[in-house]
Structures are given as structure tokens and as C-alpha cells.
Symmetry: C2
Subunit: 295 residues, 2 copies
């Protein structure tokens, strides 16, 4: 790899990509590789402590591109809904403490998909995706003032429809933007994650719409690989190992004037089994060859 | 089960659901269970012979609700494209011979996904989903006059985005309708298959649009179950075993005035390992309890 630090000036390591590393190890690994930013997951932050994590990251001179994740707002009973809102308020405070304004929101799936033993038969209990989406929209409304008060943006993440039942009832960028629309752009934004949105026939238009509204809070890259892993969650690959046309999607994002970080977030057991420095070298190389030229 | 033949007046057995049965066995099984219609796959028809299949089905007094499938129109080289068009013309003739006007089209995935050894690195060769979609639209245009001349409708099937790379670059009903729009409704139509479209936030509007245009050629039902099967293709379940809200989607279809058949098409190894009569009894029971009341 012959990339320079200038090449990597917008590249961020998401801690999920190097799951085997503690927060400090991930920070050190990012610094060794010349990356200026890190995207952090709450579990990594909480095991180290929020204040200590903030100190480690600041001392290393890294930006925090995003905190992952709030969300899970689809519960159809009051107790679970209240607990979820409380947890999201804690996540907002954590984001502010870490010095990032972007809190990624994975909004949650159908209540039936989290019911013990799976869905009851017959009927529709817990399968009402229209209602689940409405609850997400309502609860974003409840959280928005608190987020705004802490200088944090709620960043809606559309997830690939493979996860619509059990993880996120927001499946497209257009749908995320519809939910975001009532709020200022610095209070509710969206992520463009290639893995989740590459297939969308409306993608170019919705990226342009997101950019024009100033709502693109994060551009995340990883590839759609086949065959799917036995745990579909872990089916992501390094940029270039799968089927996504990064040149085209990156150009669409760049054409909106997006100047933020590009985060690499990969869930993949074989990548987690690879030494972290090797993983970071690979993702930096792929970024420089396949993403940066179009950015 | 206490359903009557009247209850089953719109229920069709797709031969993929009872994969262990020959065409004749599937016809006999449908008749035994009181179903008036069958949806047939070309492999089942071809092993029996097209003319003989047509005779068996007609003698049994069954309707053919659809023939599955034409398509695979995304090739980016001339030889493969020509071969695909030829095969689609054969499928159109088969549909006409069988006495159905609905030829289901699974339009094909990215060329890279059918390349030996997977996609080359780096670059975008074979990953251009926008281009692949354009080729589908162009080739539907080439086939439309031939289909019209045979009284057969090309029925575009949007597939779940999980299959966008390797099987169908049409991922939403809206996208299918955009491709269908230049042609008369009796020449190019669409399928509403719950498995593929249930997650779509724009589904209600697009079903209404499809119905208003007279383009709903088939309503197919099966359920989205979790965890996904190791072969994602086989991850479908009986209506009611998963997460789809059949009441709502069926109502949306019915509200358009759709009066056609409801096909049950399930790919699932454990269902294929079940005696066919038992499978047909289960699907009829689920249809009567969970679909018919909303139809």
C-alpha cells in the first residue's frame, strides 16, 4: 500500500470491524495506520467507561465519526417503550460526552420477532409493520428535543430489508428521510450504508435528497458478499469482495457535497479472526483504491 | 379443517411447494384437496412434456394460474442475451400451450454474480446494477410483441432485495410497475408475492397503483420466517409461521378489485420432506384462516 496520510484524511475505523480489540486497542490501531477518526459502539465504550473512552480518543487526537447505536423503538408495550426511551437518552449523553454529534439509530424490528418462542398463531399480533413504523416516528419525536439540547443528531439507519422483521422497520433511505423531514437537519439525519441500500432502485434520487437537505450524517462502506453467512448479520465483506458498485454510489454521495468521514463497518467472523492491524491495512487499501477516487 | 370447496375457489397450488411431486402427482393432489388451480414450473412441465402436461391439467379440470418462469435478462454479452431471449420465447409458447396467460419473469441478477469464481477485483465489472436494470427493460421491450402475439402476459416479479445480486435486479413493486408502464396491461404485468414485498414501506401505494392499472397478474402468499435457512432461497414458510401481516396486505390487494387466484409458492426443505397431501392440507387451512377472510 502506498497511500499517504492525506489519502486517509476522511477514513474512519468503526470498532465493530475490529471486534476483537478493546476501545484502546482500536484507537491505537487506527493511529498506527494513520486513520484520523473512529466510529465507536456503545458496548466497547461502556466496558472502558464513557469518560475514560472520551479521554483515550481525545488524547490520541482522533475524531469520533459516530456512536453506534441508539434505537429499538418499536415496542408495543409501555414498559418496554419507556425503557427504550431512557436508554436512548443515555446514548445521547454518551455521544455528547465522546464529542460526536452523530448517534446512529437502528430502530428495531417487529414486536413478534422479539417475542419468546416466536410469533403466535394465528393472527397479526406483533406483525403490524405499519404500526411499528408509526411508533418509531412518534418516539423519534419524543427524543428529538433531548438530542437537540445535547447537540446530538439522531441518525436514522435504513437497514437492508433482510433485517426488516427482527432489527429495523426502516428499510429504505427514502423512508428514513420521510421520518426525518419534520425536524431540523442537525437534529435528525440519516446514514448511507452501502451494505444496506445498494440494491435500492431509488437510491440515486434519495441520496441527492438527503444531501440537499443536509441530512447525510455518515457514509459507511462495506460489501454485499455471497453466499450469505449462516448468521446473515455477519455476511459483510471488505469493499471489493462482493457485488456493490462503490464507484457509482460514492459518486452519488460526493455529488451532494458530502465532506464527512467514510466509516468502514464490517461484521464478518473471518475478518474478526484476522489480526486487527491486517484488517485495518486491508480496509485502508480498499478505500484508497475503490472509494477515494470517486469521493 | 372445515373449509368447503367454495372456500378454496381461488386457491392455487404452485408446484414448487410440493417439489417432490411430478406434475401429474401435483395435479392429482390439488384435485384431491379441492383446489381449482395450479401454478406450474417449467422444469415440472418439461419432464412430463408440454403437450402432455396441458392434457393432464385440462383433463383434471384445473386452471393454470401461472407458468414460472421466464426472465434472466441481465447478461452483458450478446451470446448469452440471445440465448436468454430465445428461451423466453420458448417459455411464452409453453404458457400459451398450457392455457395460462401469466408468465412469471424472474429477471436475473448482476453479471458478476454469475461469473465463475465470483467477481474480479478491483473495479466495477459486472456490478453495474443500473445498467443491468436498463438491459431488463430493453429486453422486456424485445419480448413484448412476441408475448402479445401469443396472448401471454410477461409478469415481472420483484424479488426481495436479498436476491438483488444473484437473482433479480427488480426489487420493488414500484420499480416493476415503472418497467411495465410503457406496455398495455395485458402484455406486461406484475406479481405481488408477500414474501418478496412485505417489508416495502411504499407497498400499499404500489399495490393500489398496480391494481388501478390492471397489472396484478398473480397474488402469491408465503411467510418470512427466521432464522433464515442456510440456503436463503429455502427460507419460506407456510402462511402464519412467520412475520408477515397477511390481513393487511391481502386487504390492500382485495381493495384494488383483484379477483384472480391466490397461489401458494413455498421453497422449504422441511416442507418438501413432508408428504404432499399433508402440505396441501396445511396450506389450504392457513389460506382459509389467514388470507380468505381479508380477500
Amino acid at each position: 500500500m502506498t497511500s499517504t496520510h492525506a489519502d486517509l484524511a476522511r477514513l474512519s475505523l468503526n470498532t465493530a470491524t475490529t471486534k476483537q480489540w478493546t476501545l484502546r486497542e482500536a484507537v491505537d490501531g487506527a493511529v498506527r495506520a494513520g486513520l484520523p477518526a473512529i466510529g465507536v459502539w456503545r458496548d466497547r465504550v461502556q466496558e472502558t467507561g464513557v469518560a475514560e473512552s472520551a479521554r483515550i480518543i481525545a488524547d490520541a487526537g482522533l475524531r469520533v465519526s459516530s456512536l453506534c447505536r441508539g434505537g429499538f423503538l418499536t415496542a408495543d408495550d409501555d414498559a418496554a417503550a419507556t425503557a427504550a426511551l431512557d436508554d436512548n437518552r443515555r446514548a445521547i449523553v454518551e455521544a455528547a460526552t465522546l464529542g460526536t454529534r452523530e448517534l446512529i439509530m437502528v430502530v428495531g424490528g417487529l414486536p413478534a420477532a422479539s417475542a419468546p418462542g416466536g410469533p403466535a398463531l394465528p393472527g397479526t399480533a406483533g406483525r403490524d409493520v405499519v404500526g411499528a413504523r408509526r411508533r418509531v416516528a412518534d418516539r423519534i419525536g419524543e427524543l428529538a428535543p433531548f438530542a437537540a439540547g445535547h447537540g446530538v443528531r439522531l441518525v436514522l439507519e435504513p437497514l437492508h430489508p433482510i433485517f426488516a422483521a427482527d432489527r429495523a422497520v426502516i428499510s429504505t433511505l427514502g423512508q428514513a428521510l420521510d421520518i426525518a423531514e419534520p425536524y431540523p437537519a442537525d437534529v435528525v439525519g440519516v446514514v448511507v450504508d452501502t451494505y444496506h441500500v445498494w440494491w435500492d432502485p431509488d437510491l440515486q434520487r434519495q441520496i441527492a435528497r438527503a444531501g440537499a437537505a443536509g441530512r447525510i450524517a455518515s457514509y459507511q462502506v462495506c460489501d454485499w458478499t455471497l453466499p450469505l453467512a449462516s448468521d446473515a448479520l455477519l455476511s459483510r465483506g471488505h469493499v471489493g469482495d462482493g457485488y456493490i458498485d462503490f464507484a457509482t454510489i460514492t459518486r452519488w454521495v460526493a455529488e451532494t457535497g458530502y465532506t464527512g468521514d467514510v466509516e468502514v463497518e464490517i461484521f464478518n467472523q473471518s475478518i474478526w479472526d484476522t489480526p486487527g492491524d491486517e484488517t485495518v491495512a486491508t480496509l485502508a487499501d480498499r478505500y484508497v483504491r475503490l472509494v477515494l477516487p470517486h469521493l
